[in-house]
Structure formats: structure tokens, C-alpha cells
Amino acid sequence: MSTPIIEAQHLSKTFSLQSDHIIRRNLFAAVSDVSFAVYPGETFGIVGESGCGKSTIAKMLMCLESPTSGEILFNGNRIDNLTERARRPIRTRFQMVFQDSGTTLNPRKTIGDLLREPMLYHHIQTAGCIEGRIDELLQDVGLSKNVKNRYPHEFSGGQRQRICIARALSVNPELIVLDEPVSALDVSVQAQILNLLQTLQAKNNLTYIFISHGLGAVRYISHRIAVMYRGRFVETGSCASLFTRPAHPYTRALIDAAPSVDEAALTRKKLLIEGEVGDEIPEGACPLIRRCPLSHEACTRFLHHLSPIPNDHGHESACLRALEANHG
């Protein structure tokens, strides 16, 4: 297998809820011990409910936050321990698209300026051919080239997200982290953006990390998916195996909770979880223990790490009763 384009090794991030700068008390683990590798050309989906740490992972990958422990490797080289100055030249190779397109574009700049500045700074285009490149970028994301002199607030959410995508593309990245890129959009617009992302991926040889709380969007666009719960990956696997053979009660519950009009899905027995995400859990126990209908005594003592499912290549689950999860 080729080398991963980006790799996270035992990534953790804890936030101090009481900030007194000297002693870090009341720690909150947003991300605990997350490891994964993403290979060139694929789309890696991360799905989980609000507050599970998806966006924290995105910010750490983009070096907007530094991990409390763990390493991030980009094309085999560590990037999390570089100074910002040293990192700046390679920043162009991984870009990010944020959830809220309304605040991602400086309201005082025209679309042309927004696209022009990074290219000029990084000498990606010479002054002579830059206008042509901007037109091309706008065309690629499905906007007409006469929007260059307009301001962000004159566009709809979907159009602004297209502009954000164009801006991310302008510096010719290899990897784009998409943090909930369609969550704030209408369903019809979501589909357009997802299709656009797929077209652009094929055209520009891009690798995506697609983060969402919407199962539908992740399923549609991802090759491989990781399911997150309370800062941990609870299940990873290919899109097909994860959706047809979920091996973690949480994944199963997510799939079952999604409304469906499919006859088979309606008649199938649903696995539902109860309670709230915030429930206290005992030290060292499975994070889902309070909500899981399958939990038994062993789950309190044993924090299970991702381990392979027999006879299912690349499919890993953090559940002790992984094989029962799909039938339970």
C-alpha cells in the first residue's frame, strides 16, 4: 500500500474547563487516542454527534490547534511540532472548508480579492495569468466569472460554500478537510455540493477528509468511514461494510435512528440507545456503557480499543460484543 497522505497517531486533545493558566483542572477530553491514516485519492468520512470531537480533529489536522499528545504526519513528515513560519510553505498542500460559509469569507473583500491573495502570496500564479486562473476556478465550482467584483453577503449559502471550495482549490492542495461542508445547506443544495466535490476530486486528484453529523452525506461521498463517540473512534470500516454490517451498537443505533422509507428497514428490529451523551461514565469503562442495550459487566472494566473484525477486511470495532451488534 502507498504511504498515507496524512496520518494521525494516538491523537489526544484535552481542554481545561477552568482556565487559571497555572494548574490545569477540570480537564475535558475532546479527543482521546485517535489514530488513522488517509491514503491518496480516497475520501475518509468521520461521523458522530455534536460535541464528539470531530471538529477538534479537523482543527488539529489543519494545525489550528496543537494536540495535547500524539503526532500528525503529512506525507510521512511530522507537521504538528513545526513553528508556524516553517509550516507556512507546506500549508498550501492541505486546505480546509469550514461549516459556516457566511463567516469564512471576509465581508469586506470581493470574491476576486479573496481568491487572488493566497495565489499571489504563494507565487502560485504570475500576475499575468492570475485572472484567467480565477475565472477557471469559478467555472470549476459552477459560478460565473462576473462574480469577481461582488461581496460575500450578496451570495446564498450554497454559492458561498462554492466560493470557499474555490478558495481552498486555488493553492492546488493535495488534501482538503471538509468540516461539515453541507450541514448548513438545504437538502437540494447539499446534493449539488456533494456532486461538485466528487467531480473536483476526480479532476484534481484530491484526497478528502469529510466530517459530518449527517449519515446520508457521509455515506454518499466516503470510501471509508470512522464513527466517533465521546472523542474516540468506535468503529472504522469501508462504507459498504460499515453500513451493511455495523459492528458497534452506536453505529447501529445511528443507522437505525435515521428516518427511512425503505420497506425492509421499517420492518427490521431497531436498536435504540437511551440517555444523554453527557452521562457520567466510570473510569476505564466503555464510553457508551450507560446507553448501550448490549452492555454487560465486562464493559465496565475494559475500555476496548479498535480491533479487527474477523473475516471482514479493514473493518474495526471497539465493542466487546462487536459480532452481536448487528443482530442484537
Binding site: 489543519m62 489550528l64 507546506i90 492541505f94 469550514f98 469564512t104 493566497p118 502570496y121
Partner: protein
């Protein structure tokens, strides 16, 4: 950019009072600047009898040594506006610079600058000005420097707060991820988005500076005679007989101060609303 400015102007012109005040302010500024063209009299040399009431020759009468009051008011407005403008400029530039540095770099630099800011803010304001005016030779430049020094902390805090909140916005984050350098983020992204509130605050500082200059000069610590300023003209009204019997010696200067301050404040209010497209206050 022109589309932005026309929208700004439209929202500003909704405030009829502010538009009127802007015209009045412009008129006063023009009259002050063009003082030598408007009046033939000198503000410092006697040109008539003592303490004459208003007449055809001396529109606002003459003062206790026979100087034309109208000329003195014109030149005094000139001095007051200049002091106000320069000290506002000093306060704003200092405040913006320190606020930007403090908010952007954070950490120990932030702590040091904000500590100093709090210290300056906690001085008893008028006492500081009086002591400083007494130590330095009183005059226009020392007044400008003193007022500039006491007015910057507000600006610095405002700018710092703005920088801190802007730093958390996605468009700054997207600039960082695009690999843009710190100087670009500071001067091309953060600064332009901070100008509007600073401009509004500066109008307030301008008005306060004019009042402070008047107060200082009234107390004799400000602009020194024979140079006229609105404050030291009022100084001549300390005696009861002038207050009750010769209003032309103090009323016009008081009215000019009042008009300047109220006009600047109205314009500032309208500017604040004009810069904020969401505020649809009627």
C-alpha cells in the same frame, strides 16, 4: 467599494439630526479655518473700547482690553478644534497600535500592555491632567500630549477586544490555513474590520478632548493668553458682574463649545448606526 459607501451614506442620512449637525460642524470648521478672511480684527490686539456690547463694528462686542470678541471666538474655535483633533489622533494611533499588538500576540505582551492600560485608566483623570500641565510648560503642545495620553486606554481596550473576537472567526482561520503571513492577517484582515468601531469611538474622544481643553484652559493650565481658546475666554467670566451684566463676554464661547460637542456626538451616533447594517433603529 463604492456600493458599500453609498449604503453607508444612506444609513447615515436616515439620521436627519446627524446630517444637520454634520453641516453645522462643517460650517464651524470652515469659519474657524478661514478666520482671517471673515474678520478684519486681530484676536490678540485691542481694536476698540473696553467691554463694548455687540455693535455693527464688533459683532460680539469687545473684551476687557478691547479685543474683538467675534475674532477671538473664531480663532479660539480654531485652537480648540486643532487641540481636539491632534490629541484624538495621538490617542487613536497609540490605542490602535497597542490594542493590535496586545490582542494579536497575547500572552505576556498582552498582560503587560493591559496592565499598563488599567494603570493609566485608574489615575484620577483631571488631577493627572492638572499635575502634568503644572509640570510641563503649559501651552498647546503639552495639552495635546497630555490629552492624547489620557484618552488612549479606551481605544486600546476596544481594539484588543475586537482583535480577540476576530481572531476566532473562520475567515482568519481560513487565512491561517491558506498559509497567509501574520502581517497580512493583521493589516489586511483584522485592521480594516476594526476601523469602524474605532472611528465611532474617536468621535467621542474628539468631543471629550474639546471639553477637557476648555476645562484646562478655564483653570489656567491650558492654552496661555493672549492666544485665545474657548476655555480661556470663559476664564474671563469668573466675576459675577460679567456673568450677570456682560453676557457677550462668555455666552458665545459657551454656545460654541456646546454646539461642537453635541454635533460631534450626534455625528458619532449616526456613524455607529451606519456602520452596523443590522441595527435598524429608527
Amino acid at each position: 467599494m463604492s456600493k458599500r459607501y453609498s449604503a453607508l451614506f444612506q444609513r447615515f442620512s436616515k439620521h436627519k439630526m446627524a446630517v444637520f449637525c454634520l453641516f453645522l460642524l462643517a460650517l464651524m470648521i470652515i469659519m474657524a479655518v478661514c478666520a482671517p478672511l471673515i474678520t478684519p480684527y486681530s484676536p490678540t490686539k485691542p481694536s476698540g473700547k473696553f467691554q463694548m456690547p455687540p455693535s455693527d463694528q464688533h459683532l460680539l462686542g469687545t473684551d476687557k482690553i478691547g479685543r474683538d470678541m467675534f475674532a477671538r471666538i473664531l480663532y479660539a474655535t480654531r485652537v480648540s478644534l486643532l487641540v481636539g483633533l491632534l490629541s484624538t489622533l495621538i490617542a487613536t494611533l497609540t490605542g490602535v497600535t497597542l490594542g493590535l499588538i496586545s490582542g494579536y500576540f497575547g500572552g505576556i505582551i498582552d498582560k503587560a500592555i493591559m496592565g499598563f492600560t488599567d494603570m493609566v485608566m485608574s489615575f484620577p483623570y483631571i488631577l493627572l491632567v492638572l499635575v502634568a500641565a503644572a509640570i510641563f510648560r503649559p501651552g498647546m503642545w503639552s495639552i495635546v500630549l497630555i490629552l492624547g495620553f489620557v484618552d488612549w486606554p479606551g481605544v486600546a481596550r476596544l481594539v484588543r477586544g475586537n482583535v480577540l473576537s476576530l481572531r476566532e472567526t473562520n475567515f482568519i482561520k481560513s487565512d491561517i490555513t491558506a498559509g497567509m503571513p501574520g502581517s497580512y492577517i493583521l493589516f489586511s484582515e483584522i485592521l480594516p474590520n476594526t476601523i469602524a468601531p474605532v472611528l465611532v469611538y474617536a468621535t467621542n474622544v474628539f468631543a471629550v478632548s474639546i471639553l477637557d481643553e476648555a476645562a484646562l484652559s478655564f483653570l489656567g493650565m491650558g492654552i496661555q493668553p493672549p492666544t485665545p481658546s474657548l476655555g480661556n475666554i470663559l476664564n474671563g467670566a469668573e466675576s459675577l458682574s460679567i456673568l450677570t451684566g456682560k453676557p457677550w463676554l462668555w455666552l458665545p464661547a459657551g454656545i460654541v463649545i456646546f454646539l461642537l460637542v453635541i454635533c460631534i456626538n450626534f455625528v458619532g451616533d449616526a456613524l455607529r448606526d451606519a456602520f452596523d447594517p443590522r441595527g435598524s433603529r429608527l
